[in-house]
């Protein structure tokens, strides 16, 4: 029985890399706002969002506006950002900030590592395709 879904390696690499860099930005904004009062740390559920993107499902956060008058401008929902969730704070702080710099840093480093992994996987699938085209071992 095959439980691991099979995807094209280029498609997978692209989706993973895009999502990793998006999460990179999200985690960096958590770190930058570590001292901002009332800021809530946010993150995405990487695994489920990646599966959604690979299986071609629409973005969970797409916004559409209903037109109630003919003069209204048609808005296309081009929002492609995945659903963001708030992290549950470990140690509540008095100013309402839920960023724990240690947790964020750990996640940030881990995410950077996996980004590098995604880059090297994508690179190696490029190389193997190239060697199939040219007939030369890479």
């Amino acid at each position: 029985m095959n439980t691991v879904p099979q995807f094209d390696s280029l498609k997978f690499g692209e989706a993973a890399l895009k999502l990793r860099s998006l999460r990179h930005e999200l985690l960096s904004s958590n770190l930058v706002n570590a001292d901002t009062p009332n800021y809530k740390a946010r993150d995405i559920d990487f695994q489920s969002v990646l599966m959604q993107r690979l299986s071609g499902q629409a973005s969970t956060n797409s916004v559409s506006l209903q037109r109630t008058h003919q003069g209204h401008i048609q808005m296309t929902s081009s929002v492609q950002s995945p659903q963001q969730m708030f992290r549950v704070g470990v140690q509540p702080s008095l100013d309402g900030n839920t960023v724990d710099p240690d947790i964020e840093r750990g996640n940030f480093v881990k995410n950077a590592f996996f980004t590098e992994a995604a880059i090297s996987f994508l690179g190696s699938s490029f190389r193997s395709r190239l060697s199939a085209i040219t007939g030369q071992p890479s």
Partner: protein, 134 residues
């Protein structure tokens, strides 16, 4: 590209934290000032940080919303010979709390370091991406 956005986010952090460090330097320098330029006793200054949403981006930067002056009571020092002493011999000093400033300074410099580190990591990732397929 999201990695580019991280640089923008990091830059807002650097700007905000360096302004915060600047104010701390001003507070520490004026801890022993009796009167500031406007003729009043110096009041310690603090930044109010606020997150800053950017259109179409997931990452939020940070900005200094405003600078507030502390309304703590100024320190009164008994110095009868001082030219600025009042009729009872007390001089109004600044309301800077040095311990508070030290704590704030450590927090600001740590945050600044985090930002630099974050941008360095991002730079390495981008360079790796440029080498993709080689």
């Amino acid at each position: 590209m999201s990695l580019m956005g991280t640089f923008d986010v990091g830059t807002t952090g650097l700007v905000a934290q360096s302004l915060r460090l600047n104010l701390i330097a001003s507070n520490v320098a004026n801890a022993e000032s009796a009167v500031s330029a406007d003729g009043q006793a110096y009041r310690s200054r603090h930044v109010v940080l606020q997150s800053e949403t950017r259109a179409g981006r997931v990452g939020q930067g940070v900005k200094v919303a405003r600078i507030v002056e502390s309304n703590a009571e100024p320190r009164m020092e008994y110095r009868p010979g001082h030219p600025l002493a009042d009729s009872r011999g007390y001089v109004t000093m600044s309301n800077v709390n040095p311990a508070e400033q030290m704590v704030d300074m450590v927090s600001a410099s740590r945050a600044y370091q985090f930002n630099i580190e974050m941008m360095n990591t991002t730079k390495q990732l981008m360079l790796k991406t440029l080498d993709l397929g080689k």
